[in-house]
Amino acid sequence: MDYFAQQAINAVQLGSIYALIALGYSMVYGVLVMINFAHGDVFMVSAFFCFLLLLFVPAPFVVALIVVMLATALLGVCIERLAYRPLRNAPRVSSIITALGCGLVIQNTTLSLSPYSQRMPELFHSKTWQFGEITVSSLQVLIVCVSVGLMLALDFFIRRTRYGLAMRAIAQDRLSVPLMGIPVNTIISMTFAIGAGLGGAAGVLYGLAYPVIGASMGMLVGWKAFVAAVIGGIGNMRGAVLGGYMLGAVEVLTVTALPSTYRDLVAYSLLLVILVFKPHGLLGRPSVQKV
């Protein structure tokens, strides 16, 4: 029992990070109906941003988090401006290919600049608390609190503010929204900024929890988060969070039951199985194709 409680804590920690990244995938898909394959690599770069920042400035956690989130948001907006916006009216396949290409450009640039994994400097001095047989570190509490806080803030933003309303409106009907005086381009840039910013937060938290960072992280962790977004129903914010925590739990369970090399196999097989039974994910609504 204690063993499972301990594993549950690990699962919540991993799931929080997945959920944060998955939100970025899901937001862009919800607004633009586009799979932003570059998002995983944006997450990876944000961990390197954090690494670079700490290399030069011994910033405290909150400052580092905010700076990295802003820098990553800027990167997300730049990618959208340069690569995705010119293709907005092109066939959907073109923007998927571009996203895939952008992701690989980012990944391989990072790989060329830093061929070996880097060790993240310590940003947060962690304490551990003992509850009977269960160990909880203050780092785990911090990761879960920051992620849940960001998720609640996002939920409030989308449901309660005018900008959130505009975002939801664009998701419903992109053609008639400009007629209502809503600046579509600004709102779409904002969506990318928020999505990338959440990815940036995930990058910092990931760097704290698993301090060895490398260029392949976008593929190993970021794409797993994409799986989480699809499982939950891509385009649906609550689905992304659900998918993230589910995938975290499944991965932790897999590692306890099987050799750790089965992690990817189980995660991607779970995706295929869910797509067979629920082609639109757990919380996704089937889209009606109009003629």
């Binding site: 290919i97 895939l100 060329s112 794409w223 090399t261 991607y268 295929l272 089937p286």
Partner: protein, 324 residues
Amino acid sequence: MRFLQIPPPRGALVALVCFALSACFAIEKFNIVDDYVRFILITLGINIILCASLNLVNGWMGEFSVGHAGFMALGAYLSAIVSAKWLVGTNPQWMFPLAVVAGGLLAAVVGLLLGMLSFKTRGDYLAIVTLAFLMIVKSGIENISYVGGPRGFLGIGNETTLLWTAVWVFLTLWVIRNLVYSRYGRGIIAVREDEIAAGAMGVDTRKAKLTAFVVSSFFGGVAGALFAHQLQFINPGSFDIVKSTEILVMVYLGGIGSLGGSVLGATVFTILVQVLQPLGTWRMVILPLVLVLLMLFRPRGIMGLREFAWFVPRREFPKKEEEK
């Protein structure tokens, strides 16, 4: 480029194929070129097969598959098992084609299952499903110690000759040409243009999509088998998303929905990779960047939706008088 639009004289195509095959035979027999050039030529042939077969799905059918490297992996591993474990010591004259066909068939069967799964819904689902498929194949192979796991599969015979590669290249181009200019192929193109309208006109869209996907995965598997017996060593890492992206670059560089474009794209890509060799990992920055720039400035590629007249089958019915 006008001369490319002139249809070949009768028999010229057969003569060209015969000439090319005998040239390959002569090169093998008398060692006309050095090993490096031979290696590049075989790589070029494999790239043409990969590019033309992926073009069937991504170009003619207009869907987006990123799983071609996965089909390659299936073909490569099964053919390697057949030739290096099951039929070891038998005459390579008939053992090698058998291994290649076995690899292709496995890829085709898996392609059929995957297609049945992903064509339930339209849209980006093929991209998601093929991505998951690619990851499953890679991490699946890593966990099978029978084929060496993550360390890779050693001891594959050097069986991929220039002649065999050329035979498979011509077979691929012939099959895909005849498919896309047939009634089925017209159905596949109709699905790309408007799936609902195609269905309303009586095209069995599901069957058309499955046909294209299965043919494409078969030749993906064949290319993998040739690749395995060219390098004599395969590991799961060689069939990752980077490999898939390379094939995508070839397809979109040469031009979607065009066999001539596929040959051109594969040729330009193969040369480009050799030229950029000294750049090391920066090469892997330039290739996806080419893909992005192509999408931004020339989304259909060099030959997009056009075709060299030599790749168009001769019309068998006589033209009407007034057209002459």
